[in-house]
Symmetry: C3
Subunit: 301 residues, 3 copies
């Protein structure tokens, strides 16, 4: 019954959202990736691979050693996500990492240290932009988390519609900013409240808790924990299953859920930038970061 | 200790809420059901049976084949609920089905196909009215879910204070609108968020998930799963237990919890009607529904 | 990695928040408790014991038979919390009871019976004040719940950052106001929603549910259930662990989470007082309370 109407709906929606043809990879004249079914676009930090026959785009972080979210990462992600958003051949996006053992270590500390206020402002606007693009994407977003994901790494996972984490006890996940003496902004917090609820978020961001895969599953921070070599295949299987749902209805439902959170961020965006620039420019914070980086250097040297 | 004060409170509240006498079925002059302890009122789609000695009213859906929520169903429900709300002999209401295997299949597709905008408007206002009456009822509402309850069927269950589902794997429950290419309105969404939280609702309404009894229990979409022949008796036992609580305190507490959700619906009611009429009048949606109904007819023929 | 920055941050924050020295109990010139490492302050209902070497203050309720929250209790608590809030030697507070088998039985019924409207107003303002001080405390607050905690007792626990309950089936916990024919105010409700979510709160405050330790743990009303003789040591161990987090980041995160709830209470504070005074002054409520107290007296006599 549902299947029948689903097929009918898919046809009727095809004009505005996707053509039945394009779903099978036959027609996709305007793909920015070129003319083959399997197209990929590589920049230094991000690799995008869209399979037009399946409708799945894989966005891979490839910025060793830890996929830090610096200005380059943010810019390349923004461009890639904008293109995919407009590409009718793409119905879903899988975020994953090409770097072993790490999904992403989060925001790049280098962009927060000894820079000008203008740099801090530009950097923070880039972080906000990335969140906005990820959180408001009309595509089905799945995080295939194949490594540790603290702070900003966790945030990217939180923006997805589904999170699959590799079953490796070293792959911890969480908004651990407080451990470093910094504070997760309100829209990090909102993303987490929307995922695991108020109470767990309150404890989590106060004490910077990092969760093991087992604990992350238990509190709902991830939806599935699977063996490391099954993370990606589980992501594609989940995606294929959800492609049965007409895009139009799914997109309206997703937007209805997320609009209040996105609107709150947009309404407070400039204040949030000012807060960040003021906080990070403090001597005490800069001193902390400096000592931290000196220690890292000594460790390496 | 609590029991003692409870008895005292019951007496002191009796003037405005219910008389001690009526609780035992001795005095209930104005009952619209007549003068017996056990009174029933039957219309074509709904059967109401109030036992004045217990204070429990049973509202049974009896519109085969699937208890569709069409104009008649909505009208009869509205009248029955209004009467019960005013009836001091009634302290609690059990919603259940007289049709085997189905609680309710939800909104009637016939009221959404090839009708005038005026019809769509009247229909949608009726759906809103039903939700308002159920969700704001001062009575203790228990859903004795003895069959499948997709979409609108699930919504009626969500408005109750407690949900008991029969342990039959075919009795799935969920807001599955997205599977049919349509969208659950914001107040369906709010009712679900209030029951299972934001995250499960987000996944659920995007992908139109239908839950088995075991999964529904796990996520809190229902409060209890019991053998099919115990659904009704569990409902009455739960109700009797809760009758120990003074009505006045319970009603104020219920209202305090639900008022913001009801106010949000009332504030956006007319916009919601416009949205529905505009959406359902679209050629693409009508075509989908038409194809769906043609397929159903072929299947039967 | 995190540990390194943590140490750096601790030093850099020390100017405004706490000195590294004071953390080890060496320097704390302005402590209102005197000049020893272990100082205590006792009034009739509350005993405060601050160990400056650890940074932990223990606030013990010692008002037998049931640690009722009457005017004296509220006043002493307010003074103690104000002092601790300003004391840089104090980084965390443990709330616990010196009375066997009871954490606190909640608001004192004597302050709600046969008093003047002025008394009711002053009393309610005191209850609001206590909640405000507890819920907005910048310290790490841990409830070491070593006895039953109905109503206001539960509320005090709800304001903490972590709740540890003794594993004794008689130590039930919950907002059971409805059982007594009275209503938990909106900020009790908000505190519970923030802890266990909307759905459980709705059922809980409508029907005045008291939870066993096992159930309280299951729904998240407490964070840990431990043997009775381990409650206090678990509280101190948890506190020590969390002292690793820089205070500044933790405090900002806590404030970000709680500010909306606190602001809602402040905005509606005077209306809430009017509501309480009006409700408690009703003849029917006074009669209930009178009967309840007469029964208690007979039981004792």
């Amino acid at each position: 019954m549902a299947t029948l109407l689903r097929r009918a709906a898919r046809v009727s929606f095809s004009g505005s959202l996707l053509s039945a043809g394009s779903r099978h990879g036959r027609v996709h004249a305007l793909s920015y990736f070129g003319s083959n079914n399997r197209n990929s676009s590589t920049s230094s930090k991000i690799k995008v691979d869209l399979d037009s026959s399946s409708g799945i785009a894989v966005v891979k972080f490839q910025g060793p050693p830890v996929n830090s979210m610096g200005v380059d990462f943010l810019t390349e992600m923004a461009i890639s996500l904008d293109k995919l958003e407009l590409d009718k051949n793409c119905r879903g996006i899988i975020l994953t990492s090409a770097v072993p053992k790490i999904f992403s270590a989060g925001l790049d500390i280098m962009d927060m240290y000894e820079k000008t206020p203008e740099h801090y402002e530009q950097f923070w606007r880039g972080v906000q932009d990335l969140w906005l693009k990820l959180y408001s994407s009309s595509k089905i977003m799945i995080a295939a988390i194949n490594g540790a994901s603290p702070a900003g790494g966790c945030l990217m996972a939180l923006t997805c519609d589904y999170r699959i984490l590799a079953d490796n006890p070293r792959y911890k996940i969480g908004l651990n900013e407080a451990q470093l003496g910094i504070v997760a902004p309100f829209w990090f917090k909102d993303s987490m409240v929307n995922t695991v609820g108020y109470r767990i978020t309150e404890e989590s961001i106060q004490f910077g808790v990092m969760y093991s895969p087992a604990d992350a599953l238990k509190i709902g921070l991830v939806d599935q924990v699977v063996p490391e070599d099954k993370v990606f295949s589980t992501a594609t299987e989940t995606m294929e299953k959800w492609f049965d749902i007409p895009d139009h209805a799914r997109q309206i439902s997703k937007s209805m859920m997320r609009k209040p959170t996105i609107d709150r961020m947009l309404a407070n965006r400039e204040d949030d930038i000012k807060n960040f620039v003021g906080f990070i420019s403090k001597d005490s914070i800069q001193k902390s970061l400096g000592m931290y980086m000196a220690m890292l250097k000594m460790k390496k040297g």
